[in-house]
């Protein structure tokens, strides 16, 4: 028998529990108590409305360039929702709902997007890394965190986010390979939002799915409907449980869509059609989840209105507080902070020089 197909130990499944028509697979439906469901709903709503507000603030010049996350909330929120607070989350840069879920404040997001490094501060009780812009680079850090967690004999896990574009980077492949070889407790969550700026998913890889890349590294892979919070939650729950039990890593491909711009410097009309965007709008994860909660009888029109008002107020207050805070953060000397554990003498000298230059009287006074 010179040639026979090799049986691979795993196949790639596709998971959808709540589809865009609102049809629910009751056998697969994860058991989530009402309190948690409502908290997830509220976070999703908050993230969506906040994202919209950020966009308008950017258009008014009150904050800088930022990457909106509307449309992808289920894909990242559903995944982090299964983490314990002392698990680690390693974000890319389009996981607003997940970051809010993990306790990042609206003010911190506002400060960061208004160009204040203070907005990147992570409170000590959160085990998370700051957002990572160089595409795919953070994947390896999650691998290392998972490695350390296992070395220290904890049952904690690391979860890392990245997009479809990142799967073309070497760091992605190296990360999955290490996770496979060392059987590490890490969950790789790919938010496949179909577009890496102008580059479509179909041109990112010839593979039929991104999930199947897991097979090459001997780890588990699954593709889920990334606009179905229940499916993402279920897949992430399984992956985290396996990681905690010492059964290694999983790649979850969440099939979703970036409804908005790549960043506010981008013009998507150059590369994709309005029809495509409209088609995905009909699969909006927020509406879908809202309808599900209404079906279950735990969300009424009135409650939705109430939540909208509450979220609107929360955002408004955060914007006001952040803008106040920005005035207090005028100190330019922050430039020299947080680079080293101990500031080297040469940098202390530069800092002194900076202070002297700042306080120098205007030239005209000295030279007439």
């Amino acid at each position: 028998m010179p040639r026979a197909n090799i049986e691979l130990p795993e196949a790639i499944a596709y998971l959808s529990i709540l589809d865009e028509q609102g049809r629910l697979d009751r056998e697969l439906e994860p058991r989530i108590d009402e309190g948690l469901l409502l908290r997830l709903y509220r976070t999703m709503l908050l993230a969506r409305r906040f994202d919209e507000r950020l966009l308008s603030l950017q258009r008014q010049g009150r904050i800088g360039t930022f990457p909106p996350s509307s449309g992808q909330e289920a894909a990242h929120l559903g995944a982090v929702a299964v983490l314990e607070p002392d698990d680690w989350m390693v974000p890319a840069f389009r996981e607003l709902a997940a970051e809010l879920w993990r306790g990042r404040t609206l003010e911190s997001v506002l400060l960061y997007n208004a160009g204040f490094n203070e907005g990147a501060r992570i409170p000590p009780e959160r085990n998370d890394l700051p957002i990572s812009i160089p595409v795919g680079s953070q994947i390896l850090h999650a691998v290392g965190i998972a490695w350390a967690l296992r070395y220290r004999k904890t049952d904690r896990v690391a979860m890392v986010f990245f997009g479809d574009g990142a799967t073309s980077q070497g760091d992605f492949h190296e990360g999955l390979n290490f996770a496979g070889v060392f059987s590490l407790p890490v969950v790789f969550v790919c938010q496949n939002n179909q577009w890496a700026i102008s580059h479509p998913r179909s041109r990112q890889t010839r593979s039929r799915t991104l999930a199947q890349k897991a097979l090459a590294y001997g780890i588990r892979g699954i593709q889920v409907d990334g606009n179905d919070l229940l499916a993402v939650y279920a897949a992430a729950g399984e992956a985290v449980a396996r990681a905690r039990a010492g059964e290694g890593a999983t790649l979850i491909e969440c099939v979703t869509y970036r409804l908005s711009v790549h960043t506010t410097a981008d013009d998507p009309r150059r590369y994709r059609t309005d029809e495509e965007v409209e088609a995905w709008r009909r699969r909006d994860p927020l509406t879908r989840f809202q309808n599900y909660l209404a079906e279950r009888g735990i969300l009424s029109e009135e409650k939705i209105r109430g939540s909208e008002e509450e979220v609107g107020r929360e955002i408004q207050q955060a914007v006001e507080r952040a803008e106040e805070e920005m005035k207090r953060l005028a100190d330019p000397l922050a430039l020299f902070d947080h680079l080293w554990a101990e500031m080297p003498a040469s940098l202390r000298e530069q800092r002194e020089e900076f202070i002297a230059a700042m306080s120098a009287p205007p030239r005209e006074d000295r030279h007439g």
Binding site: G64, T65, F66, Y112, A114, G115, F116, N117, G119, I133, P134, V135, G136, G165, A166, S168, Q169, G170, A196, I197, S198, H199, R203, Q204, T205, T263, A265, D266, R270, Y271, M326, L329, P332, A334, L335, F336, L339, S346, L347, Q350, R351, F354, A357, A360, R363, E364, H367
Partner: protein
């Protein structure tokens, strides 16, 4: 002659070189359909097709590594890396291969490759989008590092870089992309790589700058003339490495007072090499310690504070005044 901004001038260079030489191909992320995130490659895919203007998967190391192969096999690839903060993915390929293949093959292979990337601050960008790290590249033997300072020289230098038989890092001052227009002739123009130029003549002191720092340096020179009648000579490096020190050494010998301006961090920055050259070649002519007006040895802050980091006219003028007041 048509007035063009930096983006249009670079676009002209690419278009004309592609017309002139079918070995020239452009590749990178979003360079085709999107025309590049800064629109430098706008219209090229319509004109030259997908075979010569290639939207690649998101992988900087692959873009550059594959381009090395193309270059060795006779093409003239022009890679775009979207921001200089993402060039590090490709650094291994550039250091280990692009800059060495001629040497490693003892002259058999050459790598006529251009890596274009926007660099520098001043556009309220995100983290990793505002750095000025040219010294990292300038340190590599076998690699040329070019930084234009305006539309006309950018176009002429890019043409030369594409025709050059060696690999070139071509850093574009993104703060200048749409900052101003100047006459850029449709007719072919080139500028030799590895040559600096005198951007303003003067006799009292020498200011050395390049890229986005040239404009504030020229403004500072005018301010010095207004406020104290001092005539500053301004040298525009254009190529960081290999560094042409003839003009700056000659100028230092003439004026005896020199300041170097760059937005890169100070320590081990291009200014350090310039000071060393002056010490080696003009030491006995110096009337005052050479000044460095640079970024500080920190990561450029997010944009609300970047103006404190970037050298500006007052800082350059202050340094120049100290030079002039030195006994």
């Amino acid at each position: 002659m048509a007035k063009r901004n930096l983006v249009q001038a670079l676009n002209l260079a690419l278009r004309q070189e592609m017309e002139r030489d079918d070995r020239v191909i452009v590749l990178g992320e979003d360079v085709g359909r999107d025309g590049g995130v800064f629109r430098v490659t706008e219209g090229l895919i319509e004109r030259f097709g997908e075979e010569r203007v290639v939207d690649t998967p998101l992988a900087e190391s692959a873009i550059v590594g594959a381009s090395i192969g193309m270059a060795v096999a006779g093409l003239r690839p022009v890679c775009e890396i979207q921001f200089d903060g993402f060039t590090y993915y490709a650094m291994h390929q550039i250091e280990s291969h692009a800059a060495r293949l001629r040497w490693r093959s003892q002259g058999r292979h050459e790598v006529p490759l251009v890596v274009r990337a926007p660099y520098g601050g001043g556009v309220r960008a995100l983290e990793h989008h505002s750095e000025s790290r040219e010294a990292l590249w300038a340190h590599l033997p076998g690699l040329k590092t070019v930084i234009p300072s305006g539309p006309r020289n950018a176009r002429a230098l890019l043409v030369s870089a594409i025709r050059d038989p060696d690999p070139v890092m071509f850093f574009e001052p993104k703060a200048l992309y749409r900052a101003f227009r100047e006459e850029v002739p449709e007719a072919e123009e080139t500028l030799p790589l590895g040559r600096s130029r005198v951007a303003r003549e003067g006799t009292d002191l020498t200011l050395v700058a390049y890229g986005a720092m040239l404009r504030p340096t020229l403004e500072a020179a005018e301010e010095l003339k207004r406020s104290r009648g001092a005539e500053a000579e301004v040298i525009d490096l254009l190529t960081i490495s290999p560094l042409d020190d003839t003009l700056l050494v000659a100028s230092a010998r003439k004026t005896g007072r020199v300041a170097v301006v760059h937005e890169a961090p100070r320590s081990f920055g291009p200014g350090a090499e310039i000071v060393a050259r002056l010490v080696e070649k003009a030491f006995y002519h110096l009337e005052a310690p050479v000044a460095r007006v640079t970024g500080y040895d920190v990561i450029i802050p997010l944009f609300s504070r970047e103006r404190y980091y970037l050298p500006d006219v007052p800082r350059i003028v202050q340094a120049a005044q100290r030079l002039l007041e030195a006994p």
